[in-house]
Symmetry: C2
Subunit: 337 residues, 2 copies
């Protein structure tokens, strides 16, 4: 064990796409757990697009991260010292102690992760927040029925890749949108989607969607926003559901992005557009994890991780999200298991 803890702090509020210099690596004394706490060692931390909002200084659903603050975010690691009866050394905890190698956290922070289900890294991916987001967003907001067409953006991403596969399990025709040939190959070949297109190939997204979804779109699961969403809105069917999960296309905007006013489409199609945060469903986590783990075990659900080693590379991994560098869940391995 090192004598020091290392953590990543926000150095400056980013303008546009974050730069590595917007973050700094800081050494601090090793934390010491108080009575009722445990000391955890971080094995993985997750970088997610939503964090761009947290460091923007804008009012949102969560406390913003200001320059000088520890970067927040999901983490998984093992208890290495316990001062609470509920948790023991070796327990794997999924929590939210931020971008640091060690943390002294309350004995009831986060939740225990069962490594018999899957490797601990999945506690930040398919069996964690992104998996739950996909599961509840699709089934509770999108409510697809067998035979309907589902279109998902960021189809090779942490959430989108799970959405597409669950929609297939439900019996839908599923089309995916992604940003590279490698990703298209992945969603068609490995995930088994029915159609996929690379939005970088052309600006004619309407044509791409028409081809990928010849029967129109019943459920549009959107992680991206922007011009692909504009086109999708023009191809929705009567009674369509649009699940607003993310709008990564706009997170780095330096001025208010504009686009066509298309909401009349929702009127003539009697369609619903709904945003959600996975927190709304947090008390049903066990149900979702059980279901997702079952599908993993039976081979019906696959996942991929893109792993970057070293806490010092967390900013780079985070910035990579906005360049579309990852397939599946982007994680940072802080310490080998």
């Amino acid at each position: 064990m090192t004598a020091f803890n290392r953590q990543i702090q926000l150095a400056a509020k980013p303008f546009g796409v974050p730069k590595e210099s917007d973050f700094k690596l800081v050494e601090s004394p090793m934390p010491e757990p108080a009575e009722g706490q445990v000391l955890v060692r971080t094995n993985y931390l997750t970088v997610d697009p939503y964090m761009r909002g947290l460091i923007s200084g804008a009012k949102s659903y969560q406390k913003p991260v200001r320059p000088g603050d520890l970067m927040v975010g999901g983490t998984v690691g093992r208890v290495i010292k316990s001062r609470t009866p509920g948790r023991k050394e070796g327990d794997v905890v999924v929590g939210y102690w931020g971008w640091q190698e060690y943390a002294a956290i309350s004995g009831d922070h986060g939740h225990l992760f069962d490594t018999k289900l899957a490797p601990m890294s999945t506690g930040l991916g398919v069996l964690g927040m992104p998996g739950l987001t996909a599961y509840f967003g699709l089934t509770e907001i999108g409510k697809p029925k067998a035979g309907e067409t589902v279109l998902v953006t960021s189809a090779a991403g942490a959430v989108g890749s799970i959405v597409g596969q669950i929609a297939k399990i439900i019996g839908c025709r599923v089309a995916g949108c992604a940003g590279s040939k490698e990703k298209i190959d992945y969603v068609l070949g490995e995930l088994g989607l029915d159609a996929a297109f690379n939005y970088k190939d052309t600006e004619n997204h309407l044509g791409q969607i028409r081809e990928a979804c010849p029967a129109g779109v019943d459920v549009y699961f959107d992680n991206v926003g922007g011009t692909v969403s504009d086109a999708a809105l023009l191809k929705i069917n009567q009674g369509a559901r649009i699940v607003l999960c993310g709008q990564i296309d706009q997170y780095n905007a330096t001025e208010m992005p504009t686009g066509p006013r298309l909401l009349f489409q929702l009127i003539i199609k009697g369609a619903r557009m709904e945003g959600f945060l996975v927190n709304q469903f947090v008390d049903r986590r066990d149900e979702a994890v059980r279901k997702l783990a079952e599908w993993l075990k039976s081979g019906r659900l696959k996942y991929r991780e893109t792993i970057t080693d070293g806490i010092e590379n967390a900013p780079k991994a985070f910035i990579g999200l906005f360049k579309g560098e990852n397939i599946g869940k982007q994680l940072v391995r802080v310490a080998k298991e």
Copy 2:
């Protein structure tokens, strides 16, 4: 009875705000009802914003009206000759036989209107399509609860004026947006809304909504779209519902209107935006009419009509909708009762 029927046809596809020359008054032979039909004499016809879409040539939820076609739209009148056992002379029928003085219609076209409930003109207003639109849009899509804040645009209009009053009956705090001092006085004084603002007073709609809805907006019932809606979206509360009923702000656009991309608001607020057409609820018309008629009788629901005389003035009345000339339901009286 005249020997001729007179009708308004579309003369040309309008560009931008329709002009009177986009319509023409045509004489045609008096229609003769066949077996199973009735001859009706039109007393009132209704002009509604949605008709702008029908004459634009764009694909929509209803067959478009092309140059040379009879203008379609809701009508109310009396049977003057019946060749079907189900309807007799003097019956008042609410139907959809278009902008003409007489029509030979099938015996099962439209529905009978009970003039003991209210004058027949209300069959095109508070007890007709606009009333049902308000009733179902608010209660089934908006689902406001007592104590919540409802904001409605076109608050003095045919639909908005009913929405605001039903929301008051439900026990909400209700704010209205309209486009003249006279309308503001009407919604505050006669309809009893809690707050109202004239969107023409300033471009700072955010400030207007902040003042009118100090606790934020739980249900936004939108008939208008555009910049007021942009501001409303920034003031919605957690779990808000946005009822998309109309987007009159955009119906005369000659190129695609653009605006800020604000859908991220729906994500961070876990909010729902839903469009609808009153047709979805047509099999529940009796329920709504009964409820609305009860409220009318008890004085809890008020309505106003703006009446233009003469079928030849129907185009002018229609065009007036886009200039905000009417308070309450705009009707054209084709024949005195």
